[in-house]
């Protein structure tokens, strides 16, 4: 992970050094962009990056400069990732932006990234409806028709699947 100077820059920011802080935010912004691109649908990445930077700003006093910066940053980013996965449960399940339904885009969303690896650990019925409704923007009814599940079962599978994803991310964090 990242630049060895980040800890020193954050330490300077804690003392009020604006120029170091600006430089740090720019680098963290780029790092978080890559982090969330591998873990979230494209439509959620920018919001997740800014939300995480805001959390870093608010909680900067919790960083201890005598410790490495990487694990601290990773813990905050993972917390915000889990937050986003949870938010997907309650987010609207239809009428997402049109661009999410473009097949080529879908491939770029789900190919060889962390989210896809996580989806593969779910039951096929769960991962299929999460891909359709949460990543590609299909409505519950459309997903039900395509998968042969009832609308109620689609909702249950999305809810349980996203809950399972959140638990998996937590477990990975505990195992690390």
């Amino acid at each position: 992970m990242g630049n060895g100077d980040w800890g020193a820059w954050m330490s300077a920011a804690q003392s009020g050094d604006a120029s170091m802080y600006h430089r740090l935010l720019q680098e963290l912004g780029a790092w978080l962009q890559r982090y969330f691109t591998r873990r979230l649908p494209p439509g959620m990445v920018d919001d997740a990056v800014q939300d995480t930077l805001f959390a870093i700003h608010q909680k900067r006093h919790t960083y201890d400069p005598s410790r490495p910066f990487g694990p601290w940053l990773a813990a905050v980013a993972r917390y915000k990732w889990i937050d986003r996965l949870r938010a997907m449960k309650s987010a609207p399940t239809e009428a997402l932006s049109e661009e999410l339904a473009v097949p080529d885009h879908e491939e770029s969303v789900t190919s060889a990234n962390s989210l896809e690896r996580l989806l593969q650990t779910l039951k096929p019925a769960q991962s299929e409806v999460i891909r359709l409704v949460k990543l590609q923007g299909y409505s519950i009814e459309e997903a039900a028709r395509r998968t042969g599940q009832s609308a109620a079962l689609v909702k249950v599978n999305i809810h349980r699947g996203l809950g399972r994803l959140t638990a998996l991310v937590r477990k990975q964090a505990d195992d690390e």
């Binding site: 009020g16 604006a18 600006h22 006093h61 919790t62 201890d64 813990a75």
Partner: protein
């Protein structure tokens, strides 16, 4: 808002901050614990037969059990206000500790009273009073720990809230021990568990939402 505008906004809001320290948090909670206990005893809430009570094993059992659980719970909670730390291992040990304490109570009970008339010994009217007072005494520590939790950056908010609840509830019970007239281990095991359990449940439900970041 573009990323550059967002960075500028955060930079313009930058002020020097005092670093969080687990030791400072621990001192705040230790002082609050000591202050609450001192006030409780100073206003004459302690039981009048304290010298007699102090000769009974059950008094020391409940005092030590609540005190140890409160201190260990507070340590687990405070450690987990650091985003890098997970409270899960500490919580497992706390759970083991609670069961060891209750188990020790059964031994104390067997040595002290023997079996029989269990329901009558529970004395539910006094028991509910105990639950109410214990929960009231748990309010200052749960507020203080909740405030520290909000100031920190817990990344396991549910588990941290559980640790906060256990610590605050056990401290409320610890202070209440000085006023509690019952020395019956069965009564103590049941009603202290109800009081501490309720407060822990409230903390588990409310704190993650109140301290979200």
């Amino acid at each position: 808002m573009t990323n550059n505008e967002f960075y500028d906004r955060l930079v313009s809001d930058l002020k020097p901050v005092g670093r969080r320290s687990a030791l400072a948090d621990g001192l705040i909670i230790a002082m609050l614990f000591a202050l609450e206990l001192a006030i409780f005893l100073a206003v004459g809430m302690a039981r009048s037969d304290m010298p007699v009570a102090m000769e009974m094993p059950s008094f020391w059992w409940k005092l030590c059990s609540c005190g140890i659980i409160a201190i260990c719970g507070a340590m687990v909670a405070i450690a987990s206000f650091n985003p890098v730390a997970s409270p899960l291992r500490g919580l497992r040990w706390l759970l083991v500790m609670v069961f060891v304490c209750i188990g020790a109570g059964w031994f104390v009970d067997a040595a002290q009273n023997g079996a029989g008339a269990l329901i009558a010994r529970l004395d539910w009217q006094d028991g509910l009073q105990c639950v109410y007072k214990m929960m009231l005494l748990s309010v200052p520590p749960v507020v203080a720990l909740g405030w520290l939790m909000r100031r920190g950056a817990p990344t396991y908010p549910g588990a941290t809230a559980l640790a906060v609840g256990v610590a605050a509830a056990a401290w409320g019970a610890f202070v209440f021990v000085f006023a509690c007239p019952s020395d019956d281990p069965l009564y103590i095991a049941v009603w202290y568990l109800v009081g501490c359990g309720l407060l822990t449940l409230v903390a588990r439900v409310l704190l993650p939402a109140l301290t979200r970041w």
